[in-house]
């Protein structure tokens, strides 16, 4: 079986389970909305925020809520030790990594369909949404975060406190990507043109590709430790 077909097979299986249970998506969206509501109350309901603090709130809500989904996607393979059956099969570990990263990317994207409109409803006054730029930034962060999260969730699954280990490992690793995301989103919300934040966007793409490449290469070692 070719690599793309292996990836598609695993991706469809995981999405089928997620559509049936909806546990990750609901948890992610609910937690993200909760964070934004609390921050909205803390900031003052009628207060207009500057572009950069507002961008920070958006990414805090997205990235903190995403960990709930990232952990579940690999934990599902550990239930009944399904990962052992996958490793005995002709499946390439790289296909397993790519499929899991793709599932995480999809879950993050779907939760953002809820979180981004809620964000603009709560904090949008005075911000310039710049939808195409925001979509590009969301896609780049999703790429980097889901790639790094997939590798680290496999590593964390081999530890006793895996649900605690994942965020402890993931957030420091993704700090450069998050900082770039906050900076570029703040600039976009402030109405600065795409050309002015091009360097930031290129750096984000580079981080995303590095996380994806490292994850693809190291996943076979990480998954054998589970």
């Amino acid at each position: 079986m070719t690599l793309p077909r292996q990836i598609l097979l695993l991706y469809r299986k995981d999405l089928r389970v997620e559509v049936r249970k909806k546990e990750s998506l609901i948890a992610m969206a609910f937690f993200g909305v909760l964070i934004m509501v609390i921050l909205n109350l803390a900031a003052g309901l009628d207060r207009r925020l500057q572009a950069e603090p507002a961008a920070g709130i958006l990414w805090v809500a997205i990235l903190f809520s995403s960990v709930l989904g990232l952990g579940r996607v690999f934990a599902r393979e550990k239930e009944n030790n399904c990962v052992a059956a996958l490793l005995v099969s002709p499946l390439s570990p790289g296909a397993l990594f790519a499929a899991k990263a793709l599932v995480n990317f999809t879950l993050m994207s779907f939760s953002e369909l809820v979180l981004v409109p809620v964000f603009f409803a709560l904090f949008g006054a005075g911000l310039q949404p710049g939808l195409p730029v925001l979509l590009l930034l969301l896609a780049l962060v999703n790429l980097g975060f889901s790639a790094a999260g997939t590798l680290l969730s496999a590593l964390a699954a081999g530890t006793r406190r895996n649900e605690v280990m994942l965020p402890i490992l993931l957030y420091p690793l993704c700090l450069p990507l998050v900082a770039l995301a906050v900076k570029s989103t703040g600039a976009a919300f402030g109405g600065r043109p795409l050309t002015e934040i091009r360097d930031l966007i290129e750096s984000m793409a580079a981080f995303g590709l590095i996380y994806a490449a490292v994850g693809y290469l190291l996943f076979s070692h990480a998954v054998r430790e589970v």
Partner: protein, 239 residues
């Protein structure tokens, strides 16, 4: 007369985790169609040996050959010979029995996964529950489905790690019947179990592992089942 290569050959196999030796100079052979039952107390190295045979753990030293394929030289061809059953089901609770089997069959590149899933469900008497999610299955039903899952690629070597764990008497009898049928179909089987009675009943060869070493290996027809329990404990005490 030319020497016939045994179907399974394990030579000088060692596995260490840091300073801990889990397997030490393990050697054994099994002819095609044979049924080797490995006994031993907890921590003897049975599961580690099966994990090495299943390619889930790399050996520290030694060699393993199955059907002429060396584990290190031809890992993919080696893996293609294997089916693995454990006390864990390796099944997705939220997928139906048919979806689980079809998923694994597709993973092995079986031409028509859905048809293969249907055949296997018939074989393990679960066709009537094909569309039920696995989480609704009893432990015995899950174990039968787990055997069906291990057979999706029609493996020539079936590895069973404590398959009787958690089964009630009725489910254990059904499992023994299933294993006997698989053996009669000339499938080569290696099973690790604590259950001396069931193991002796099925095996064509019997091994005892203690402290990571094979301390006893003999053909089943050369063993007196009445005296085996004594012999088993004698070997454990001597190890």
């Amino acid at each position: 007369m030319p020497m016939v290569e045994p179907f399974l050959r394990v030579e000088g196999l060692c596995k260490s985790y840091g300073g801990l030796t889990a397997l030490e100079d393990v050697g054994l052979t099994l002819e095609a169609g044979g049924f080797l039952c490995l006994f031993g107390p907890n921590g003897a190295g049975k599961s580690t040996l099966l994990k090495v045979l299943a390619t889930l753990l790399p050996p520290t030293a030694g060699s393993v050959r199955v059907a002429g394929f060396d584990l290190e030289e031809h890992p993919e061809a080696f893996r293609a010979q294997l089916g693995l059953v454990s006390h864990q089901s390796f099944l997705y609770d939220d997928l139906s029995a048919r979806e689980n089997l079809a998923f694994y069959a597709a993973l092995y590149g079986v031409p028509d996964p859905s048809v293969r899933a249907g055949e296997l469900l018939e074989r393990v008497d679960l066709a009537h529950r094909a569309h039920s999610p696995v989480r609704e299955f009893s432990r015995g039903m899950q174990q039968r489905l787990s055997i069906a899952r291990a057979l999706v690629n029609d493996p020539s070597l079936l590895l069973l790690d404590e398959p009787y764990t958690g089964l009630d008497a009725h489910a254990a009898i059904r499992l023994s019947r299933q294993l006997r049928l698989l053996h009669e179909a000339r499938r080569t089987i290696v099973m690790a179990t604590h259950n001396l009675e069931r193991g002796l009943d099925l095996a064509t060869s019997v091994g005892i592992l203690a402290r990571g070493k094979v301390v006893f290996l003999q053909r089943r027809d050369q063993i007196d089942p009445e005296a085996f329990e004594q012999l088993y404990f004698r070997h454990l005490e001597a190890a």
